[in-house]
Amino acid sequence: MNKELVELIAGVLDVAAEDLTAESGPLSVPQWDSLGHVTIVAAIEDTFRIELSMPQILGAKSIADFQKLIEENRVG
């Protein structure tokens, strides 16, 4: 997993990075509510200099999903 991404999400949600895995998402992390989700998107867009589309934002359900989106958007 991308360490920078995990630390970024941990910082936004105010949880320990060690407690997060690739599968972590809104269902498994209580702090990951809807507002937390859009703040994570803003943080990722700003940090990795990408822009996600609305379907991508809605479809991302885990850290692994976000990691895939970052890689796709970077290539594209």
Binding site: E4, G11, A42, I57
Partner: protein, 625 residues
């Protein structure tokens, strides 16, 4: 700096929130002054501040309670507000109205908005909140009809708020949609949304009651670019009113509006010279060769910065120079260079020497009778900026970017000089301070203070204020920290109500001397109860301290009291951290404590004669005596 610096910084300071709230707040506030913050980081900081408000400050950060009415998701607004208030030294307790229920919250007298006392209310609206929706108008609709519908609803909401609220309402200006449809063809005919919205804003400025303080979100949206400001993804996803990337800029605009209302607007801009007002070092390059003027790109950028500074002065900002230079050489640039827009007369203080700048800033503060919190300092040298910021707490400090072309924007981003409304005294003020500098020059040549004061040839008049004075009087109530007897902070609405009231009297005082007309510089609010006249508040601008104006005012007040058949004046002094300068005022003027009780009110009997303290001010027209 690592990309996650703000988040890791928060982790560092956030762990001991419950143990040491004030320490955490202090650390965040300090970091806010030193490091730029991005939108999502601001939201995370906002959440920490929300927790801090739930715990409560242990005393260092007074609580400031705000109710937020938003037409869209209010959390980001609340976060920006908490950050803006912390920058000003307050712990914001922000209560958010139910989602998108701003109309209901305003109209329903039983809504939570009216059940508690707040310090301010924010009304955060965007164009999508108007009814009818500007993007859903028929192009054939009659513009006047739509305009009336919008304006009537706004008037209605203001009427509800005005009837129940006693505090300022901070309301967003409405930004354009940025939709151009058929291009320029839309501009001359039909109900084009942006044409109508800009006309609506003009009408709202005219129609808004005095308790409405505008937060210029429309100006901000246009500065950052409408196509970036509006973010449909997040509007559709979570009803966010604007792109949250701009929360830091939005927070700065909010801060400017609140600062003006809290009386903490910067009044004076202190400028370095070499590589700040011109390119190059005048001591090395010579007066004729420093770069400012029309000749090359760099000189043009410096000239434009100087013109911007001059425009600030024109809008009431006091200018001062603080430079490591030979004074004579430095002056020559302003005196001899025709392409230098600023002239010596534009500066109210001019300090050129080789001493520590931190000390020179203090000297300027003393000369102008201003607290450090009202001063702002710009310099191109990071070391000087750091030193000055370290020593002079409360001073606004901006280290200019290296590129001279980016400097106007850098200065604007500070929102140091934001006002809610501009009164004519704001513009007079700069002249008055320049008069002060000339007066200081006279002072050094006068043999003693009496000669100095007599040499100023001062005239003043204390008169009953009218509604024309209310804006200026409310400004003084809000801004005056030092000579403020009870720090009541009467609002413009209150002042207007006092002017109309039977038992209250509002007196304004104008002062002129042979150097400048200072305009309205002091005011007294009185309440009559039988044979007693009570001083409810007394404020005086710090730029006319030590001129015996208070002695003049009391003499005039005694004549007024006598003519009203009043037997005694009573007054109270309420100490604050900033008004120690007048702690002996009442005793000096001849008031005595009522009864044995040393906590009692101060009383002064109105006899046939009042000896009082000497004054060097002659009565101008409109005097009571």
């Amino acid at each position: 700096m690592s990309k996650t610096s703000w988040l890791s910084r928060l982790r560092g300071i956030g762990t001991n929130l419950a143990d040491d709230v004030d320490g955490v707040l202090e650390a965040i506030r300090d970091a806010l002054t030193k490091f730029a913050i991005r939108g999502f980081e601001l939201e995370v900081v906002g959440r920490v501040l929300k927790e801090a408000a739930e715990i409560g400050s242990r005393g260092r950060f007074p609580l400031y309670r705000v109710y937020v009415l938003a037409g869209y998701t209010s959390e980001p607004i609340a976060s920006a507000l908490r950050v803006a208030l912390l920058r000003e030294g307050f712990l914001g307790e922000v209560v958010e109205a139910p989602f998108s229920a701003f109309r209901e919250s305003i109209i329903d007298s039983a809504s939570p908005l009216y059940q508690q006392e707040y310090d301010a209310v924010v009304l955060a609206l965007g164009y999508r909140n108007l009814r009818p929706d500007p993007t859903q108008l028929s192009f054939d609709a009659a513009p006047e009809t739509i305009m009336s519908e919008w304006l009537n609803e706004m008037r209605d909401l203001w009427a509800h708020l005005g009837a129940r609220l006693k505090v300022p309402l901070f309301q967003h200006t409405i930004e354009p949609t940025g939709l151009h449809y058929i291009g320029a063809g839309r501009l001359r005919h039909g109900a084009d949304p942006d044409r109508l919205l800009s006309a609506l804003q003009e009408r709202m400025y005219e129609a808004a009651p005095a308790f409405v303080h505008w937060v210029d979100t429309s100006g901000l949206a246009q500065r950052v670019g409408l196509s970036r400001w509006h973010d449909p993804r997040f509007y559709f996803h979570g009803a966010f009113g604007f792109n949250r990337e701009f929360l830091p800029e939005y927070s700065a605009v909010l801060g400017g509006a609140f600062r003006a209302s809290l009386g903490a607007t910067k009044k004076c801009l202190i400028l370095d010279l070499d590589n700040t007002l011109w390119g190059g070092v005048v001591g090395d390059d010579g007066v004729d060769h420093v770069r400012v003027g029309p000749d090359d790109p760099e000189s043009r950028a410096y000239q434009e910065f100087c013109r911007y500074v001059l425009a600030l002065k024109d809008r009431g900002v006091i200018l001062a120079v603080c430079s490591k230079n030979e004074e004579k050489t430095a002056r020559a640039v302003f005196d001899r260079r025709a392409d230098m827009p600023l002239k010596m007369d534009d500066f109210s203080a001019f300090v050129c020497n080789w001493e520590d700048k931190a000390r020179n800033v203090e000297l300027i503060a003393r000369t102008l009778n201003l607290g450090l919190a009202h001063l702002a300092f710009v310099d191109d040298n990071p070391a000087e900026c750091a030193r000055v910021a370290e020593v002079n707490a409360g001073l606004g400090v901006l280290c200019l970017p290296e590129d001279p072309a980016g400097r106007v924007a850098a200065l604007e981003r500070q929102h140091w000089f934001d006002t809610i409304q501009l009164s004519s005294e704001d513009r007079l003020r700069s002249d008055s301070y320049q008069g002060l500098r000339r007066a200081e020059e006279v002072r050094s040549s006068a043999r003693n203070i009496a000669e100095y004061l007599a040499g100023l040839e001062m005239t003043a008049s204390l008169y009953e204020a009218t509604s024309a004075d209310s804006l200026r009087l409310a400004q003084m109530e809000a801004k005056t920290n030092q000579f403020n007897l009870r720090t009541r902070r009467f609002s413009e609405e209150e002042v207007l109500a006092f002017i109309d009231s039977q038992d209250r009297y509002v007196l304004a005082c104008r002062l002129a001397d042979r150097f400048a007309d200072h305009g309205v510089v002091a005011s007294i609010v009185l309440r009559r109860a039988g044979a007693t006249l009570e001083i409810e508040n007394w404020v005086m601008s710090c730029r006319v301290f030590s001129r015996t104006l208070e002695h003049f005012m009391l003499r005039e007040l005694m004549s007024l009291a006598r003519s009203m058949g009043v037997e005694r004046l009573v007054a109270d002094f309420v100490p604050t951290s900033k008004n120690a300068v007048i702690s002996d005022l009442l005793a000096n003027l001849g008031f005595t404590r009522a009864g044995e009780d040393s906590e009692g009110q101060w009383v002064l009997d109105v006899g046939d004669r009042y000896e009082g303290q000497p004054t060097y001010i002659a009565a101008g027209p409109d005097a009571f005596g």
